[in-house]
Amino acid sequence: MTNRLLTIKNLSVTFGGLHALRDLNFHVDEGEIVSVIGPNGAGKTTFFNMISGMVTPTSGDIIFKGESLLGLDPNQVTAAGIARTFQNVRLFANMTILENVMVAQHCRTRQGIGGSLFQTRSFKREEREIREHGEKVLGFFGSRLVGYRLDQPASVLSYANRRRLEIARAMATKPTIILLDEPVAGMNPKESAILTDLIGELRSDWGFTIVLIEHDMNVVRDVSDRVVVLDHGETIAQGSYDDVSNSPEVIEAYLGRPVKETA
């Protein structure tokens, strides 16, 4: 029996009268890669927002490492060990690439005003460690984000590299679970194949557990241990990629019902 990291029980959220998520049950084990798929508007991003504390659920519970995440602020959730990326890349565009990953280590470091004013030895050591760890996570993507790029603002990066930097920023928070919201959106097939491999490495080399939202079925097939399908805020199928892709409910959710039945 593997170690259960994240358990979500009967989670619901309503916006006004709209049920964005309804009675959702979900779990992630340590070292798993789980994909969440579903048509547009199925509630996938709301699901992520809920885990990361940006949206408060109406009912239900989120349990991470045996403790409830309910009522925690996003920064506390990140500190607990859940990092995320955003579907519409949200980097700190005017900070440099290195600063983007340095700032993400905020919750893992503790130097305050005093340390910086008196330039204490522990402050300097911590700064050095922050920088080294930052360069290390950037180095994960090869030479794309390091070298002369370190001191360039994030806004000069290409779209694919911004996505990579977002992942690096999530990695820099030293999380247990990384939530990836459409990591390969906007990448060409070759790039997304490379990123798919990297997602595998995130688990094997870095020991992260990964939950990802993805529309690109090739990525989902190649990378995930388990696939969860959401539609209209409900889980309609769960299981391996092959099971799920042949499930009639899933096909219906994506393609609609055959004409004769609706008629």
């Binding site: 996003p74 900070m95 905020h106 005003i113 090869g142």
Partner: protein, 632 residues
């Protein structure tokens, strides 16, 4: 702009007439407006060149030149052929000058024949006399279009003359006006350097009752022109050499520059008289405030419109702790002491200022926490409005009957003694030089704090919050705590300023902490360059030093009445033309001009291309597209 050929000049009458009329009416309207604010009459006593030219006329004369220049100014795009400049531009300027000058002619006529002094308080015979140059109305009526013609054509001809010539004239004018503006300081300096014979120089330059002498002005103009003609290239070369330096050498050069300016700041006041030192001390107080607000607004991005609250708390807490007026200002449980006893007891109520400062800092930090805690959870406009409210609440509390028993309500706290620092200097109102040194010391602390914090874990968190607060929070930053820290640091720096003010003036009143102070500090930060330490200092020097603070006179004491008007105009112009401030912060500029920045980066090949090829990503030498070439 290099090899684009110029199209031949257009015909003089080939004009955008609507634009010309638009500018003419703008000129007429602004000239009338300036006249009716009474600026010309008020500034007439301040001579620039005795006896021919006063600041009063200057307040009207610059308008036709500026508008005559602007009317034909076009943005020249790289690679797009533009017309050669010629008589058309001069004509346009002249047209604007003549038609716009008509506005003042009309005003002279109206001033003579109607009396609407009731709503327009400055509708006066003096204004009429001034506008008609103390002559007949007919003269006044005719002269303004003529002046407009001359000045407007001058403005228009700026387009025509060579850059070098333009620079020479600009520098000559700047030299004359600059020396006229800085008269007080220079006279003060020359007294300090009297042993070098400096007084002889200023006696030559300045007329005894103020203003430059004619030959002084000519000498200055020539010197300015000569500097522009021969010196400009060399200043640019120095700058180029400087940027070409290796980074280590540049740091070394920076340190040398820093040390030199620090030495100048320490040594110069010794040779300055009371007036200038007073001015410097006032500017210093605002530099301190602006540096504090810069941390809150510039680094953490919290728009705090009630910053004066902490200035007030610093001032009042220092005042209450150090005042010798104990009976009025302390609660009844503190035993009453006589004056003699007060002198003997070091602890209370008249605590030594430096000891009191510890309490002041604690108070300010606590106030920062208490005010900040509820406020900081808000964002954007809401936060600004709430801070505005708190700024007023604090002042009203000090003024109220509730705390009035301790704070003296509207009478304020008086009898705050000066104090000695280790028998070296006495800080009191009558010794502005000592006050300046004290302010300087605290400014250095503030600069160090800003500089260090910006490059720390907290500074990065502030930056991230400024960029995108929700993402910053999702990335593990406790935004409430980080913002609260900024608030507290800002509060402490403001309280230093308040405490010095209390010791300097010897009293504090609620009226010293009006909402206007908050606004002025914010304007200083914005105009100077938000987020940039040097910018903030420059902003304070320019605004407070030249125009004056909310209650403090600046170099141009005549301006004090129009300070707010000028602040307002300056702010609008800055927001339109240079929102990043006089000395901008690199990052802030990037935020405000991101499109241009990205375009530049693209042209330089710094933007990376969407390539999955490692080699290309490494070298990233995408050749810039040919934008500057001729159409085929």
């Amino acid at each position: 702009m290099s090899d684009t050929e110029l199209l031949p000049a257009r015909k003089p009458l080939d004009q955008d007439w609507l634009k010309l009329l638009n500018y003419s009416f703008t000129l007429a309207f602004v000239s009338i407006f300036v006249s009716l604010t009474n600026m010309p009459v008020r500034f007439d006593t301040r001579m620039i060149i005795e006896p021919v030219f006063s600041m009063g006329y200057l307040s009207l004369f610059w308008l036709p030149v500026l508008l005559g220049f602007l009317v034909t100014r076009e943005t020249v795009l790289e690679g797009i052929a533009s017309h050669k400049k010629g008589f058309r531009e001069v004509f346009a300027g002249a047209f604007v000058g003549v038609v716009g000058g008509g506005g003042l002619s009309l005003l002279v006529y109206l001033l003579d024949n109607f009396n609407v002094r009731d709503p327009l308080v400055n509708w006066s015979p003096q204004l009429r006399d001034l506008l008609s140059f103390q002559r007949s109305n007919v003269f006044g009526f005719v002269i303004w279009p003529v002046i407009g013609l001359i000045l407007g054509s001058l403005g228009g001809s700026v387009h025509v003359v060579s850059t070098r010539f333009r620079r020479i004239v600009t520098w000559a004018l700047l030299a004359v006006i600059g020396f006229a503006v800085f008269e007080t300081v220079l006279l003060d300096l020359s007294e300090g350097f009297a042993w070098l014979g400096a007084e002889w120089l200023t006696d030559e330059l300045y007329f005894i009752r103020g203003g430059l002498t004619m030959h002084g002005a000519v000498i200055l103009a020539v010197l300015g022109g000569l500097f522009a003609a021969f010196g400009h290239g060399s200043t640019r070369r120095v700058k180029e050499n400087f940027t070409a330096l290796e980074s280590t050498q540049r740091t070394r050069a920076n340190i040398v520059i820093l040390l030199l300016s620090a030495a100048a700041l320490v040594v110069l006041p010794l040779f300055l008289g009371g007036i200038t030192n007073e001015l410097l001390a006032n500017v210093g107080l605002f530099v301190l405030l602006a540096l504090g607000l810069n941390i809150v607004v510039g680094l953490a991005g919290i728009l705090d419109l009630g910053y004066v609250a902490f200035f007030a708390i610093g001032g009042y807490s220092a005042a209450l702790i150090t005042t010798t007026n104990r009976a009025d200002s302390w609660p009844s449980w503190v035993p009453a002491l006589t004056k003699a006893q007060v002198a003997e007891t070091w602890w209370i109520p008249s605590v030594y200022w430096l000891v009191a400062l510890i309490a002041v800092v604690l108070f300010a930090a606590l106030a920062g926490l208490f005010i900040g805690a509820p406020v900081i959870r808000m964002r954007g406009d809401y936060l600004a409005i709430v801070t505005l409210g708190f700024g007023e609440i604090i002042r009203l509390m000090f003024q109220s009957d509730w705390l009035g028993g301790y704070t003296g309500a509207a009478q304020g706290v008086t009898n705050i003694p000066g104090f000695q620092i280790f028998n070296v200097a006495t800080i009191k109102g009558t010794d502005p030089r000592a006050v300046f040194y004290l302010v300087l010391f605290f400014c250095v602390i503030a600069i160090y704090v800003s500089w260090r914090l910006e490059r720390s874990r907290l500074g990065r968190a502030w930056m991230a919050i400024r960029e995108d607060e929700s993402v910053a929070e999702a990335m593990g930053i406790d935004t409430v705590k980080a913002k609260l820290m900024a608030f507290v640091v800002g509060a402490v720096l403001a309280s230093f300023s308040g405490a010095i003010l209390a010791a300097k003036v010897g009293s504090v009143f609620p009226t010293s902490f009006e909402i206007l102070v908050s606004i002025v500090i914010l304007v200083v930060v914005i105009v100077g360059g938000m987020g940039n330490i040097v910018g903030v200092i420059v902003g304070a020097l320019v605004l407070i030093g030249i125009l004056g603070g909310p209650t403090q006179p600046g170099l141009l004491a005549e301006f004090s009445e129009y300070k707010l008007l000028i602040y307002g105009v300056l702010l609008i112009v800055m927001m339109l033309k240079r929102p990043e401030g006089l000395v901008p912060n690199v990052r802030r500029t990037r935020e405000l001009h991101q499109d241009e920045y990205l375009q530049d980066a693209w042209l330089k090949g710094e933007i990376d291309t969407d390539s999955d090829d490692e080699e290309t990503a490494l070298t990233a030498t995408a050749s810039p597209p040919n934008m500057g070439t001729q159409p085929a």
